[in-house]
């Protein structure tokens, strides 16, 4: 039953990757901000969920409704106050990319530093719905299944919102071409701010869900940033479906390596997979031929 085990565990982890990557692809593909502090927001949300659960016995599923709106507002403010000046200053997209990498890199240290001061460097985990159930003959904790279900609902909701609503269409238009989008009366700055904030909300949701079954610590944000980036790039920037497939692939690949070879080599496997994908298709699995 090892194969089923690997696929199921891989799907759950992969679903989390896909969800967080969805947020990053909104921030990078629409708002054009390469956010290196992305994973810090995931860790911050996980730590918040932990505090809510252990301090006030608020279930993480309720916590979701507290943490996510706060994350949305916070990210909207960050975009308006910190990143808008860079957008205005940038002569072209490359300059903005470099500037945003550098600025959010600074932000990464600030957030991480604050988290370390408040929570210290130790590992955190809490036990919530950790009741084992048997799925197709392999034992899984309920919290993982709940997390996966929530991720699927959130992801599907975002997908429908992007493809079926006016605001979603505007966001997709900005992702394709911010200059032309203005010509059809789309407020690009507003759409960018909204997409950035929405990305922040998604990663916070990912953080809360992940905290239910993973052990985490204050300085592991970079790891999530890297994985989200890899998924985004593999799936093709701005491609929702691509992010989903790439996320699931990554989750399964990683779990397979961890179970079959050595848990210490998961990151190596991730990068090998990433490299292979990039070398075969430099614009991602489902990417367009030009950026």
């Amino acid at each position: 039953m090892l194969a089923v085990d690997i696929v199921l565990t891989g799907l759950i982890i992969g679903g989390m990757y896909a969800l967080t990557a969805l947020g990053l692809t909104l921030q990078y593909g629409v708002a054009r901000i390469m956010n290196l502090s992305y994973g810090e927001f995931l860790v911050a949300a996980a730590l918040s969920a932990f505090s809510l659960y252990t301090g006030m016995t608020v279930s993480p599923l309720i916590g979701l409704f507290v943490v996510v709106p706060i994350a949305f507002a916070l990210n909207w403010l960050i975009f308006k106050l910190l990143l808008m000046p860079l957008v205005r200053r940038a002569k072209n997209r490359d300059v903005l990319e470099v500037d945003s990498i550098l600025a959010t890199f600074g932000l990464l240290f600030v957030i991480q530093g604050v988290a370390l001061v408040i929570f210290g460097g130790q590992y955190f985990s809490y036990s919530y719905l950790s009741i084992p159930v048997s799925v197709l003959g392999s034992a899984l904790a309920v919290n993982r299944l709940v997390a996966l279900a929530f991720a699927a609902v959130i992801g599907l909701g975002i997908y429908l919102a992007l493809t079926r609503t006016r605001a979603g269409t505007a966001i997709r238009a900005v992702a394709v071409d911010p200059v032309s989008a203005q010509l059809v009366a789309i407020d690009v700055k507003r759409a960018s701010a909204f997409a950035y904030a929405l990305g922040g909300a998604l990663v916070a949701a990912g953080g809360v869900l992940v905290s239910m079954f993973l052990t985490f610590h204050a300085s592991m944000g970079v790891e999530f940033t890297m994985k989200a980036l890899i998924v985004v790039i593999m799936g093709g920037v701005g491609n929702v479906l691509g992010a989903l497939v790439a996320g699931l692939l990554l989750g399964i690949g990683e779990t397979a390596v961890a179970r079959l070879i050595d848990p210490g080599l998961t990151l190596a496997a991730t990068y090998a997979l990433f490299l292979a994908a990039l070398l075969i298709r430099p614009t991602g699995l489902f990417g367009r031929s030009t950026r």
Binding site: Y28, M34, L82, P85, L86, R89, D94, E97, V98, D99, I101, L102, A103, F105, G106, L107, L108, F109, V110, I111, Q112, G113, V114, L116, V117, V222, M226, L229, I230, I233, D262, G264, L265, L267, A268, T270, Y271, A272, F274, L275, L278, L279, P282, R291
Partner: protein
């Protein structure tokens, strides 16, 4: 020559002064000196590659760590110079392998990859140590004093600066600056961009690896988390960018304040180190986008341009001809060029015309190698060029301008032209190049603006500059993509006269154009395309009266 000697003496003097530091300073200041020097080497080496090409590499620590680990493994087995040699070889080999496979990734892809590379290597080393070597860390007992480390780092600093200085003056340096501005232009100027980037990546990696090797004995104990600490890559980037990565001494200007700041923060606020570091970093990004060196340069007046005598215009004699046979290119289901054949005799101006979307620019892209053809044959002077790299086609004598003007914006007009001179089939480099470049600029009417930065040029002047750069390749065939579009009446007449004079100099010109007056007065014959297919070929007056041509341009009713 005198100036150079002054500089050389100054450099040697400074080296001697710095070399005396260990004899005078106490161990605290010596340790500070070691920190300063090791970041100086790393930041300068980083900027050698990233400063000019604008490829932000976060792989510094990958090479640094490899250097350190080589010492960990071989330090007690081999004599010290051999250890350094092995470390350098391993670093350069890795850089070449990695570079070959990844330097075609650009922008963010490269950033992420380079960061991933160090993590990947760290995991592999950890895995090897745990499973094969059966212990995570290694002790390094090598009898090297702090002062000896200092001296080695000082030597590396001097070497990396010397290397950078030499490269800046070489053709490679110019090639990298052009690549940093616009890779497409670089290819069309005859630059082999893969080779240039690869060489520079390897040189930069060599210095990083050696720094890691030299620093290793200072720790006495290393494990992968120490040797491959990703913070190092970031710190190096911050320092280099803060100082100014585009200039040789820029990174060092960033290293000094940062090393002192790190020292201050970690001594006084150990708990808030990362918060303060992040804040300082953000302040730099917002307040100093061009680094310290940018601030200094804005304050300093620009050096006056060096006056040189324009040289008479030298053009390839004759024998230039282009032949295209059964050319085909499809983008998915859209066939942009279908079975196209035409020829241009030496010294002929051939108009390539047709409605928008008929495939004209695609044909130029196929000829210049910017796009690969699906089928067909392209010959320049009887030599098959289809399938060759863009830079090789450029060197064989096919030059082009772009429909949307592409100049190297932050370079002067002279440097724009020199880039093409340096990499053409018979390169001109060094003292003569500037005079030839000025001659070419005079030829297109830019004598007075030769030392201006290209981004300040008006549209027509940018077009002129682009033409001068194309001519600098000493082309046999010149591809002009709507070069006359958007000009006013006077400029148009100047432009037509200029193109005519090119023909008189023996050049073959392929003219993609919508300005019918120009086509009538310039072209010897015209190829008319519609929807990817050739619908007419003949003298301008005849093809422009052709029913099919009129239908293609104006629709059925007017035919």
């Amino acid at each position: 020559m005198n100036r150079q000697w002054t500089w050389a003496c100054g450099a040697v003097g400074a080296l001697i002064v710095f070399a005396l530091v260990p004899l005078l300073a106490n161990s605290y200041y010596l340790a500070l000196g070691v920190s300063l020097l090791y970041f100086a080497v790393l930041a300068t080496a980083w900027a050698l590659f990233s400063g000019s090409t604008h490829y932000i590499s976060l792989a510094t620590v990958a090479f640094f760590g490899i250097g350190a680990y080589t010492v960990g493994v071989l330090g007690e087995v081999l004599p010290w110079p051999l250890v350094l040699l092995v470390a350098g070889t391993v670093g350069v080999t890795l850089a070449l392998v990695v570079g070959l496979s990844t330097l075609r990734l650009s922008g963010i892809y490269f950033v992420i990859f380079s960061f991933g590379l160090s993590e990947l290597i760290r995991q592999l080393v950890t895995w090897y140590e745990v499973n094969i070597h059966k212990s995570v860390g290694r002790y390094i007992f090598i009898d090297i004093t702090q002062a000896q480390i200092y001296w080695q780092l000082l030597a590396l600093t001097a070497l990396v600066l010397l290397t950078g200085w030499l490269i800046n003056r070489s053709r490679l340096g110019l090639a990298l600056r052009v690549i940093g501005q616009d890779e497409v232009v670089a290819r069309h100027a005859g630059i082999d961009i893969t080779k240039a980037k690869l060489v520079m990546f390897a040189v930069s990696a060599l210095f990083m690896t050696l720094t890691g090797a030299v620093m290793a004995p200072r720790w006495t104990y290393i494990d992968p988390a120490i040797a491959f600490n990703p913070m190092l890559s970031f710190e190096v980037v911050i320092m280099a960018l803060f100082g100014g990565a585009g200039v040789l001494f820029g990174p060092i200007l960033g290293v000094i304040p940062f090393v002192l700041l790190f020292e201050l923060l970690s001594a006084n606020f150990p708990n808030y180190f990362s918060i303060l570091l992040g804040l300082v970093f953000m302040v730099i990004v917002y307040a100093l986008p061009h680094g310290v060196i940018g601030l200094l340069q804005r304050r300093m007046p620009q050096a006056p341009p060096v006056a040189t005598m324009p040289q008479p215009f030298a053009m390839a004699a004759k024998g230039a001809a282009l032949e295209v046979r059964n050319l085909r290119k499809a983008f998915g289901g859209l066939v942009a060029v279908q079975d196209l054949s035409f020829a241009a005799a030496p010294g002929e101006i051939v108009g390539l015309i047709g409605p928008n979307g008929s495939g004209k620019t695609t044909v130029l892209n196929l000829i210049s190698g910017a796009l690969p053809a699906d089928a067909g044959d392209i010959r320049c002077d009887g030599r098959a060029i289809a399938g060759l790299g863009t830079h090789r086609i450029a060197r064989l004598g096919i030059a082009r301008t772009f429909q949307l003007v592409r100049v190297l914006e932050s370079m002067t007009a002279v440097d724009n032209v020199r880039a093409a001179l340096a990499f053409r089939g018979r390169p001109i480099w060094g003292v003569g190049a500037e005079a030839v470049a000025r001659g070419l600029l005079a030829r297109v009417g830019l004598t007075d603006k030769a030392d201006q930065i290209a981004s300040q040029f008006t549209y027509i002047d940018q077009k002129r500059l682009e033409l001068a750069r194309a001519l600098a390749l000493e082309p046999r065939v010149l591809l002009l993509d709507e070069w006359l579009a958007g000009l006013n009446r006077t400029e148009l007449n100047d432009g037509i006269a200029l193109i005519r004079s090119l023909r008189e100099a023996g050049l073959t010109v392929i003219l993609v154009e919508h300005v019918m007056d120009a086509i009538r007065s310039l072209c010897d014959h015209c190829v008319v395309m519609n929807a990817g297919v050739k619908i007419a070929d003949g003298p301008p007056a005849a093809v422009l009266a052709d029913r099919d041509v009129i239908r293609a341009y104006l629709g059925e009713a007017d035919a």
